[in-house]
Structures are given as C-alpha cells and as structure tokens.
Symmetry: C2
Subunit: 340 residues, 2 copies
C-alpha cells in the first residue's frame, strides 16, 4: 500500500512533538521548518558563523531519528559553562555540517544520514530570514528573538508580523506541499513558529494550489500581547488571512482542561484567558477533531538544559496528537470526532 504523504509546517517543540508521534505510523513524512529563529544558541551561531538557524531543524531531525536514545540525547544537550554556555550540541553539529558541506541543505542531508532520520526535514527557505514585528502603536521590532525577549509586547500587543525582505521558498518544500495528501499546520508558537513559514510567498501559493487536505492544530495556550484571549477560531481566521479563506479543512484542538494549578500559573504569566478557548464546535465550516490532547507525564528534558524548568508545562502529548491526525487520515469521510 502506498504510504500517505504528510507535510508538517512549523518549528520548535510543536513540530518535535507532532513528528515524534507521527513517526510511529507508516507515513511518508516531510517537515517544513521555519528559518526565522535568531535568539539563543541559534542566534549566536547565525551571527558568529554566518550559518542558517539550526535550532528548529535540529528538533525535527531528532524527532524523526531512528538512532540510539544516547545520540538523540546528545543532540539536545546544552553546554552549561564557559564560552560554550547555552550552546546546544545539535546546533553546533548542524552548523559544522553546513560549513563542511558548503550549504545548509547539504549539511542537513549529511545529518539525515548520520542520525538515521526516517523522513525529510526541509527548511522553508534557504535564504536568511528576518522577522519584523509591528506593534499596535506602530513601532517596529526587528528579529524573532524580540518575540520572546521584548516585554513591551505584553503591554502594547502585536499588530502584525512580516518578513524584513522577500525570501525564496525552498523548492523542495514547494514540491512536498504539491505532492502531499495531508498538510498539518502547527502546533507551535503562532508568530514564532507557524506564521513565518506562511509569510514566504512561494509557500502560500503552494498551499493555495495543492490538492492536499489541510489540518490546523491549534495551540494549547495563548501568549500575552501575542494572541491574548484567542479562541481556536481566532487562530484559524488568522492563519486563513495568510493562506486564503476556507482553505483549512480540519481543525484539531484540545478540549481537556489542564490542572487548576497549571492554569493559575499560566494566567499569572500570560493574563486571563491564557488557555485557548474551544468555542468552536459550532462553526460548521470546518471539520473538527476535539479531545484530550494533553501530555500527562512530567516533561523529561535533556540533561544540562538550564532553561527547561522555566519553560511552559502545558504541552501536547505526541501520541494523542498522532492519533488525532491518524483519525483524519484514515477516516476523512467523517465530519467530526470527539475523542474525549
């Protein structure tokens, strides 16, 4: 039987979670990954070595890797002290491979061999991408890292995110979208991981044209000043301003409430309505999968990852997420699924 072709679009932890789940099924997987990251270890490498941002690519490679647990742990290892502090080993690995091969894509092809990756991992563009963030007061911020670091965003709010200059879509990404059976957008940080991919005009065009079914996976939580108070429908509408109204076929979202303590913690950080609201099932335009998509276990992070304990802990469960997607790919004739 021909394997169904799934293309995921995103970056970071969201794609890692989704791909970790999907790889257990017999899909032909291609991960299209944002290249807009310019903070942290990745940002330093971009600045100092002139490489393309390795961080999001690394997470997708590790998710799809069939190599040993040790090698995968190594790829996520973060140095804790000295001149290497904060650098992620896997990022250094990809940067060195880019240098040796003379191109980022050549480096990824090597990495795919070394890490025994089952699937394709494709940067959305091979040009250097920079985000410009327009705030509600008209001010412009430059660089993706501002999204995380600039606290003015919390008060003023984001009006729009765009690219500093036009970049060419990666031809392999366009081809994958063209040939896909299903395209899964998300989950992931809205302006940091999802939108940058859809700002690349060649990608937008390809999504408008493809015969693939398009699935959107809504995030679990909103971010203060970014998507404050968003409902699932708000996310869908926002994405459709980029890829065309009515273009999304399926919407997947979590309808299980996290533990109260967790909600309190998030509300302190991200404001009231920090959970993405699910007033959604009534909209008849989209076919939906709703249910418990929450990760239960405490999140195990790579050793030496100091940032880990400061990170969000409401996360998707990769197996539940993959089951939700599989429901769609196997039973796409059904209108909606409630798997709670």
């Amino acid at each position: 039987m021909k394997r169904k072709k799934i293309v995921t679009i995103g970056g970071g932890t969201g794609s890692f979670t989704l791909l970790s789940g999907l790889k257990k099924y017999q899909y032909d997987l291609t991960a299209i990954v944002t290249m807009a990251d310019d903070g942290g270890s990745t940002g330093k490498l971009r600045d100092e070595l002139g490489v393309l941002p390795p961080g999001d690519i690394r997470q997708c490679l590790v998710a799809l890797s069939d190599s040993s647990e040790e090698l995968r742990e190594l790829m996520n290892y973060r140095f804790e002290s000295g001149g290497l502090e904060g650098h992620n080993f896997g990022n250094l690995f990809l940067s060195a491979l880019e240098k040796i091969n003379g191109s980022f894509s050549g480096g990824i092809i090597e990495a795919i061999k070394i890490l025994n990756v089952n699937g394709s991992v494709v940067p959305v563009s091979e040009d250097s991408m920079r985000l410009v963030i327009k705030l509600n007061d008209g001010r412009l911020l430059s660089g993706e890292k501002e999204l995380d670091e600039n606290t003015q965003i919390h008060e003023i709010g984001i009006h729009e995110v765009r690219l500093a200059s036009r970049v060419r879509a990666n031809k392999r990404a366009v081809k994958a979208i063209d040939e896909a059976d299903f395209i899964v957008i998300g989950p992931g940080d809205h302006y940091g991981s999802i939108v940058p991919n859809l700002l690349v005009s060649g990608i937008k065009k390809a999504i408008k044209k493809t015969k693939a079914k398009i699935v959107f996976v809504a995030p679990l939580t909103n971010k203060k000043g970014h998507t404050e108070g968003f409902t699932v429908l708000d996310y869908v509408k926002n994405i459709e301003t980029l890829i065309g109204s009515g273009r999304i076929d399926f919407v997947v979202y979590n309808s299980k409430k996290p533990h109260r303590d967790m909600i309190t913690k998030y509300e302190k950080q991200e404001g009231k309505k920090s959970l993405v609201l699910c007033k959604y099932a009534n909209d008849k335009k989209y076919r939906i999968v709703e249910g418990d998509l929450l990760r239960k276990e405490k999140i195990v992070t790579a050793k030496g990852d100091k940032l880990a304990h400061t990170r969000a802990f409401i996360r998707h469960d990769s197996d539940k997420l993959a089951r939700a997607i599989t429901l769609i790919t196997e039973y796409s004739e059904y209108r909606s699924f409630n798997i709670l």
Copy 2:
C-alpha cells in the same frame, strides 16, 4: 585464528597515523592515550567545562572509526570564527558525551558506538594529569602547552618532564598491556605524547611485567630544545630510563631522506640535525626495522583547520608504518629488516 593483540601507546597525530594503518589488518587493537594535553581547544574545554582532555582520544577514535568519511571529517572540523573559534567539533562531541554520561570513560564508550569504532581507545588515566617541565637551568614550567608555546625551551632546553602529581593508571590500560602480544610505543611527540603515558607508574609497572614484545617507533624529526640532535638510539635510551633498560625488543625507524627543501625548512625551525639520525643499525641489542616510512602525498587536512598549513610536513605514512609493524608481528623470528 586468534587475532593478535596490539596495544599502541601515544597520542595525537602519531597514534592517528599508526592506527589508521593498523586497522586495515586483522588485529585486536587497543590505543592507550595520553591525558596530559592542556593547550588549544582541548585546554579550553578542560578549563571551562572541567572535562578530561578530548583531543588525543578523538584522533584515535577517528582513526579506528568505520563510519562514513563525512562523519570522520566532521569530527576533525575546526570552527573558524566567533566564540567557537579554534574549537574542534570532535572535542565538543566528546566533552558533551562526558557530561551526559557523567564520566569520561562512559562518554568514550558512547562515542565508540556512535562512530562505529573497531577497537578500544583507553585514556591512560582517568585522573586529571598535568605535566611539569624542568628546564636545564632548573626552572619549572607547568602544563603541556608550554612545550609548544614557551620559546625559552628552545634556548635553555628541557632537563626532564614529570607529572605534577601522582595519577592512577586506568585499569583497562593496565589489563590491555598485560594481555597484549605486541606493544607499540610511538610514533609521536616525545615529551608531549609519548613520555606522559610512561610517567604513570602503574603503566610503567605493567610494561615491565608484560610478556608482550615491545616495539618502539622513532620519530622522524627532532624538536629544538626538546630532543635537539637526538639519534634513534638516544630516543630508545631515554624511553628505557622510564620502562627499564633492555625492555624494548624492536626499533622501527625511517632511513629515507626527505626532500632537501623540506630538510632546509626544518633546520631553520628546529636547528641543525633536525632529522632523527639513523646511526643505529650497529647496536646489536635491539632488533630493527628500517626503511622508507615517509608519507609522500601532500597532507590533506580537515576543512576549516587554520593551523594545518603551519604544521610539520615530514610525516609517517600510515600504510608503510603498518607494514613495518606487520613484518614484526608476522616474522618476529627475523633479526632485522631493511625495507628500503
């Protein structure tokens, strides 16, 4: 047929060359490697991360690796700019594995799996080793890197090299020496790579006790202030002050003259008699293998290795060296071999 057990003792490029040649034969190989390096990328990692020195180990792992050429090239890749400048990727790889595994030896075991290494690579000690260099005027220098960097050595000369404090021999190294059929000491930088191994008293003892035949491979060139004007016999005697008089069974040395231009270049740098003299064949105490052991081709270095062009270019050829050793292991009943 039982494979013959060969233990090599050394570090750096010398061990890399020897092992690269020997691995093409059916030997059971164990590389015992100095842990005294504290310069360059390795020195920085020792200081900043508190790890054991990875550089010499890395070279032996790469030499014995059966993985792809690309992965081996990656391990030797040196970053050229920014905060990572001068760091060798393979060194970062070993340091990260040491951190993740909680011990250097545990890290090496992982590395052996990942790099598909055929043989054992064993640090001479798992304690932190520091060299003390006593000059001829009685002054003391601290640290192996002084051997390369302190130009006073050129004028004053080295009286003796010792360890700053007693370190314990690695039990696995002692066991390998104990069970070996042949032990090959060298080639390598005399005070930088060879002597430090033999200063570890547990290693000395093991070499005195073992039934293995002991082979010494003389270096090709002398170093100013280190071993200025040494003949092959001077090296042998110097080694035997450490492991016991008459302990060496076979001496392997090059008797082919390099190109005149090369000699001129070396004499400018290392003084007259910069080549190791071969007035040696007459000494009846040792069985000898002499011949052309020189590498002919231009040395291909890892991309991005800025130091490469400043390095010595009179080098052993790994295949010729391995053939010389094989002559000994296969025909050890012969008294001497002239393979010129």
